[in-house]
Symmetry: C2
Subunit: 450 residues, 2 copies
């Protein structure tokens, strides 16, 4: 039996799957944070190329992937679907566990799927530079690589706590000619305003987004690029699930449950959306979004309109949120430290199509080490959340006497996160759960749309 289901280059999907036309209810519009009115394309034009603005609200089920994007996808796609035989054996499972390995990309994560597309559309519309933010550095690496391929300059605002914890990510961005700054910086009004109150601010995705948006909005040759959350980003990631469907067709199995970690939601969307379509069409299948207990947006946040960033410069969206001023602890899954979540993923949770769970940090590191020791891949701490929950699902199915087929998205490798593993072994990591009062405090400044 093949452990790895590998497809030839010719099997890379040629269209992305857009879930919007298949949703039970149409998504709520975005609102302009200054005017509080529904956002139109003209509001977004200073930040995004028109092609992506169209994709954001497209009613087309399939959007063709440009050949220029496919040419770069071929560097690493299709990614393998792998049966975790060694992990199953180690745990004595009757359930089967499969994983889709997105860490095979040049950036080491799924992020490059959308970065390449975004860089392409920006280049096509004559943009010279991209400003963006990054948490753990996965998105910043991906955008640096993508910009380098299309000859764009790239400026990355990297959350300070990750900038310090993960210098290798910063070095990687330098290999691809990006400039990287620890956020909050003195380069923007948003950054300066945070630093005035707290010169030692560890930063957050919300703050870094504000800085990157401001940079783009104040430079005519520069656009902004977001690595998760938005509809078009989730859509670009569907290459993951579309490939996984083809690969499952070769195994004779079909997933009973699909697990993915959620920060903004894009890797989860990428692997699940094509299968959610099949559930809508009658397949029996569950979807579980996993988030950190230290930043439990989907499980403890409220479903309401909120700002996408700390400084209220990004669009207002209807989503699960912990409040845009929420400042998560410096946990090691830096990519999961976002106060909000994708509007689409939020809606699917709200409508009951997707379940959500929150896991504590130590459980995820333990799962990561078991996985590394059996499957040979050290996962990113973010992806470790998916691993831990996949194991939980498999054990529970066994305990219920109904062994299941579990699929999870291994969104990235942890080669640049080794210092976090060393801290885990040294006993320096702690379980952090979010006190309700922090959520209550962060909720005070909501925009109150409708």
């Amino acid at each position: 039996m093949n452990r790895k289901i590998v497809l030839p280059d010719s099997e890379i999907p040629t269209s992305w799957y857009n879930i919007i036309p298949d949703l039970k209810n149409p998504p709520a519009p975005y609102y302009n944070p200054q005017t509080m009115k529904i956002i139109g394309p003209e509001d977004l034009a200073p930040l995004f190329p028109m092609e992506l603005i169209k994709q954001e609200v497209s009613a087309e089920r399939e959007i063709p992937i440009p050949e220029e994007v496919l040419a770069i996808y071929r560097l690493w796609r299709p990614t393998p679907l792998i049966r975790a035989l060694n992990l199953e054996q180690k745990l004595g499972l009757k359930s089967k566990i499969y994983y889709k390995y997105e860490g095979a990309s040049p950036a080491g994560s799924h992020k490059l799927n959308t970065a390449i597309a975004q860089a392409y559309y920006n280049k096509k519309e004559g943009i010279a530079r991209i400003a963006t933010e990054t948490g753990a550095g996965q998105w910043g690496s991906a955008m640096s690589i993508a910009c380098n391929y299309f000859g764009l300059k790239c400026t990355v605002y990297m959350v300070r706590v990750s900038y310090e914890q993960k210098p290798y990510r910063k070095h990687l961005m330098h290999v691809f000619n990006a400039e990287v700054f620890p956020s909050p910086t003195n380069r923007t009004n948003s950054g300066r305003s945070i630093l005035k109150d707290n010169p030692n601010s560890p930063g957050s995705l919300g703050i870094a987004i504000s800085e990157a948006v401001e940079d783009a909005a104040t430079h005519a040759d520069t656009h902004y690029s977001l690595g998760s959350v938005l509809n078009h980003v989730c859509m670009h990631q569907t290459v993951i699930g579309l490939e996984a469907k083809k690969q499952f067709a070769q195994t004779g199995d079909y997933p009973d449950v699909i697990v993915g970690c959620v920060g903004g939601g894009s890797n989860f969307a990428g692997i699940t959306f094509p299968f959610i379509k099949e559930k809508m069409d009658g397949k029996k299948i569950r979807f579980v979004a996993v988030e950190p207990a230290a930043c439990p947006t989907l499980t403890k946040g409220i479903y309401d309109f909120d700002y996408g960033d700390t400084a209220k410069m990004a669009p207002i969206a209807l989503m699960y949120t912990l409040g845009h001023t929420f400042m998560p602890d410096g946990i090691h899954a830096g990519g999961l430290r976002y106060h909000g979540a994708s509007a689409l993923v939020s809606q699917l949770v709200k409508e009951g199509l997707v379940e959500a769970v929150a896991l504590k940090q130590l459980e995820t590191f333990q799962a990561a080490i078991t996985f590394a020791q059996t499957e040979g891949i050290v996962p990113a701490p973010e992806s470790a959340h998916a691993i831990a929950q996949a194991i939980n699902e498999a054990k529970k199915a066994d305990a219920d006497g109904k062994p299941a087929t579990v699929l999870f998205n291994l969104s990235g490798h942890g080669n640049f996160d080794m210092a976090s593993y060393e801290m885990y072994f040294e006993g320096k990591l702690k379980d952090i759960e979010l006190p309700q009062k922090d959520i209550d405090a962060a909720m005070k400044d909501r925009p109150h749309i409708k």
Copy 2:
């Protein structure tokens, strides 16, 4: 056209290729460093399992790979053969460049091919612990992973300069339960003797080998394991070349020249030996071994008997050597800092079947960055030597008006070497060429066999 030639799990070779019976001249025997007599199996038994001792001198052309080893190879093998289309385009080449990507392994390098086999045979013969050395950390990582799979303990003596430059490699070994010490240590007589003369010794592979051999020789439950140089190690690596042959058969091309970097010589042996067999059978093909100008064993060393390690505990072999007391500068291709080379590779160089060149450090980093920016893989600094020479070969063939097909072995990724890249960008790396007087000095203490 497929960029990546990917084989199914079922195409992993089921035998290793042993080049010894196909050599024009039989290899010289090893000598015991204490008695100066030819080594027999009983001399090696305290260090190695009998199965590996037999493989070291086997006259069989094909040695079956045990199913237990194949089962773990399936975690990442077959590795892809990739056409470097983006690199070719960037350089405007008419020549074609292919690479075999061994960085896809859990250890991030080719080293795991032999580590798995060695751990397996040791486990089978009842050994409880492996002591070994590591330069850049690639071998130590591989042995840690292999030992963990077979339930063996693993003690790694890591050359101090790499231990300090590459903490992530050390962390990776910890994930797989190994204990790692910066060598020279106070744990062995060899280490203490070096530290007495030079408490700040940066270490060398020669010293670290002495420490690991001494550890194994003084503990009955412990064996030694070497990550390169020896015949059986080179043989285990031939899975690389055997797969590459199958993959080339799918391309319609055939390599005119194969390039690999050489520290001890095993990754070079792995990709070339199966093709050297074809050259002996009449194919027209060249082989180029690339080493650093700071440690130019094959190009500036002499072909003579020398000790395998600094403290004269390891066997004496007929090989190219810079002298067993040679202390290379702390260049960033730590895996290429060895005073000697594989006896088999040395013999093939001596007999004219293999060419050798030495490259300076900065040229290899420049090639590595060009490669990363086009092909999307940041290479290990060791592998960067092969990349630089592959580019040189392709350019020369173009200049000669005879575009060629170049194959090189991308022996490992550089995800754990990012600090070296950062130093390169900061202008902190220098070109180091070895003064002849250093070689002359190191040659004084040769064993003078025959």
